[in-house]
């Protein structure tokens, strides 16, 4: 296929203007007095959504756009679809374009699906005869044969969306712009859509796809671009671009968790100095049962021994907050003691985001007998494989006496996030393998892979 350009985005900048209300009132007045409304409607505040974007998408190419929310993906989509115009630069489109940005935009709730198909089709640029010819396909694809004469207001959101998708895809464009619409709809319909997109691909149509589904990008796209704060951060091979993006997401999460943790520790630490024995932990965190109180972060204890900090270390000893299921992790507790303490126990407790205890242990239940604790040092718990399901976890750490009198108890001040390749559920991932006997055959074998692949499709 000749490398013709289907979509050319050249030096495109898009600024959104925010005109303050007070400013507006003045303009209305002076506009009518001075007659220069157009000039006066100029921005008080400017937000740059896209900043000098250059992209060329070839005919027949499937191009993925990824990036965090608010990065400018949708703005770029709108520019390509032609619903907005760039502030600077040019967008040149070669071919008939259909945009699946908002499915069913323009459906009128009071009238039937049938009438809406016609109206929507005409809005998308079809003639009446063309719609007539495709009508049955549209309805069949949307699986709405029974309901096509019911008013659209009675449709479920899934039906609504299916019909919208079906109309838009039957416009049979040269260029198809898809914006995150695959996020809605049930599994079966998503597969159907992906099949349809695959068919488009085979027929040499150009597809521009915006999605948070990294798997979709990797599987479907010929090239991808990662957009961040209005700029192209990476462009090219989708696998490479997705990796760079995911790394960046990891870093963002890391810094966010660090920031939140700092805040929590700081606020719990206030008043801990004089507020000793404000609250006594009823039981050591090793006992998982009988925890009726809501799980709230906090800190208490008489400070005979102090916990100065907690870090999560990976295999190489780098501190972080984001781990993958199966990674090695070490929890490092830094402690200090002013006067020697003879009766001491170190303990940890892991809680998931629902406050459910996932695991707890301490040195006492594991038969360590304390003799003397003096000066300062670290207590480390090494886990060769972090067998937790995906999610955010909160950590209780404590140093207390054997009868449970807390010296320093940190409740939920530290947290880390676990990404899992799998959608498995529960409080922990139990080590396991599958074995089958009898007439079982698999197209493909599953199994644990060490590849780090945060399950981003589920976030936001």
């Amino acid at each position: 296929m000749a490398a013709e350009t289907a979509i050319r985005v050249a030096g495109v900048t898009k600024r959104y203007r925010r005109v303050a209300q007070s400013h507006k009132f003045l303009t209305l007045k002076s506009a009518f007095v001075g007659g220069n409304l157009f000039k006066l409607l100029n921005p008080a505040e400017v937000f740059t959504a896209l900043d000098g974007i250059d992209l060329e998408i070839e005919r027949g190419e499937t191009f993925g756009l990824i990036g965090a929310n608010g990065a400018g993906k949708s703005t770029l989509m709108k520019l390509v679809a032609g619903t907005t115009k760039p502030t600077e630069g040019d967008v040149v489109i070669d071919g008939k374009i259909s945009a699946l940005i908002e499915l069913g935009a323009g459906f009128h709730p009071e009238i039937s699906g049938r009438e809406n198909v016609y109206i929507n089709g005409i809005m998308l640029g079809l003639s009446r005869a063309e719609i007539e010819a495709r009508f049955d396909d549209i309805v069949a694809f949307a699986e709405l044969e029974e309901f096509i004469d019911a008013p659209v207001k009675n449709y479920s959101s899934g039906m609504y969306m299916r019909l919208g998708f079906s109309v838009a895809i039957h416009v049979d464009p040269d260029i198809l712009v898809i914006d995150e619409v695959l996020a809605v709809g049930d599994e079966a319909f998503v597969h159907k859509c992906l099949d349809k997109i695959g068919e488009f691909k085979r027929r040499g149509k150009t597809i521009l796809l915006v999605t948070h589904g990294m798997e979709t990008v990797r599987r479907l796209c010929d090239r991808a671009a990662w957009i961040d704060r209005g700029k192209v951060k990476a462009l090219g091979d989708p696998i490479r671009v997705v990796d760079r993006y995911l790394n960046w997401v990891g870093e963002q999460e890391e810094s966010e968790l660090t920031r939140v943790e700092k805040q929590r520790v700081a606020s719990a630490g206030e008043g801990a100095g004089d507020g000793a024995d404000v609250e006594i932990a009823p039981e050591p965190p090793a006992s998982p049962e009988g925890e009726e109180a809501p799980y709230e972060p906090g800190r208490w204890g008489n400070q005979a021994a102090r916990i100065e900090g907690v870090r999560f270390l990976d295999e190489e000893g780098h501190a972080g907050h984001v781990f993958a299921t199966g990674d090695a992790m070490t929890i490092e507790i830094s402690w200090s003691v002013a006067d020697e303490v003879k009766d001491f126990v170190f303990g940890i407790g892991l809680f998931n985001a629902n406050g459910v205890s996932c695991y707890g242990t301490n040195t006492d239940v594991e038969r360590f007998k304390g003799k003397s604790l003096a000066g300062e040092g670290n207590a480390c718990i090494r886990m060769p494989s972090l067998d937790l399901v995906g999610g955010t976890y909160y950590l209780d750490v404590a140093v207390h006496s054997r009868d449970g009198r807390p010296y320093d108890y940190h409740r939920g001040l530290y947290s880390f996030r676990v990404h899992s390749r799998y959608g498995d559920v529960g409080v922990a991932r139990l080590g396991h393998s599958w074995d089958f006997t009898g007439g079982v055959q698999w197209k493909q074998l599953g199994g644990i892979s060490s590849e780090r692949d945060p399950d981003l499709d589920r976030s936001d």
């Binding site: 619903t83 935009a105 323009g106 009238i111 005409i122 009446r128």
Partner: protein
């Protein structure tokens, strides 16, 4: 601007479809359905006839009898004008997701407001004619042929204002609240319930008379009165000036709309 304007013609099919949609959707779910299109003006006519015959006596003179018919003649175009403006001013906001989400020519929306209210007007005409032929057959004349011209002038004037107001409403939501009151004032400032001819003969130098002279709707309604109530020749000079004003209103309104077009997507 001329280029964009020609696009309006290209979107005939879209406009027609949307007009049909508005008409079908409006009375969907009501028992009388489309009949409301006819019942509405008749009921309104009944109310006005009662009020202005038995409660208040407006300035009407002998030229305006039978009064109910006279009222009907002015009320039909006025209802079209005022509902088209009220709806048209709001049309971009209501159709916001169309402009934002699909490639959609914004000028279609106010146009649809004007046309679909015009359909109600046109459907009301046969009823009016039936009454007219029955109660005032002597005044049916060749001057009825001016009617299409009068309608055309009204369409241009209404479209121009609708474009202007729609674009303005996007930036200043206050317009639609203001508009409701302005339309009430405008209604009383147009010779719908009273006769302009009679007013002019009774108080030729009155302030009201002078002000009414400046109102384009005065001359448009008067043109309806002459062509389809009294069956007289149009007042050429007044109507000619009004036609020019209508064309200018259309051009200015559309120009204003066209200039602000790019801001709609962001502000809607």
């Amino acid at each position: 601007m001329w280029h964009s304007l020609s696009r309006l013609l290209q979107h005939r099919l879209l406009i027609r479809t949307l007009v049909v949609r508005e008409l079908t959707a409006r009375y969907r779910g009501s028992m009388l359905g489309f009949l409301w299109t006819f019942i509405h003006p008749l009921m309104l006519l009944g109310v006005y006839t009662f009020v202005f015959t038995y409660v208040i006596d407006p300035f009407r003179g002998d030229g305006a009898s039978p009064y109910a018919l006279f009222l009907f003649c002015g009320l039909l175009p006025w209802t079209w004008f005022s509902s088209a403006l009220a709806e048209g001013a709001n049309s971009l906001l209501m159709g916001g997701n169309l402009i934002k989400k699909i490639i959609f020519p914004a000028e279609v929306l106010p146009t649809v407001s004007v046309i679909h209210n015009g359909v109600n007007f046109v459907l009301g005409l046969p009823i009016y004619f039936a009454f007219w032929f029955w109660f005032k057959p002597e005044s049916v004349s060749i001057h009825l042929l001016w009617l299409p011209l009068v309608i055309a002038v009204q369409v241009l004037f209404t479209l121009g204002l609708a474009f202007f107001l729609a674009a303005l409403t996007v930036h200043y939501r206050d317009v639609k609240d203001l508009l409701a009151n302005i339309l009430t004032l405008w209604f009383f400032g147009s010779p719908v319930i009273y006769s302009y001819t009679y007013l002019k003969s009774e108080k030729p130098d009155g302030l009201g008379t002078k002000l009414l002279e400046l109102n384009p709707m005065t001359h448009i309604i008067e043109a309806y009165h002459t062509s389809m109530f009294t069956g007289e020749m149009l007042h050429w000079r007044r109507f000619g000036v009004t036609a020019i004003v209508a064309v200018l209103t259309f051009i200015v309104g559309y120009y204003f709309f066209d200039r602000l077009r790019d801001s709609f997507v962001e502000e809607v």
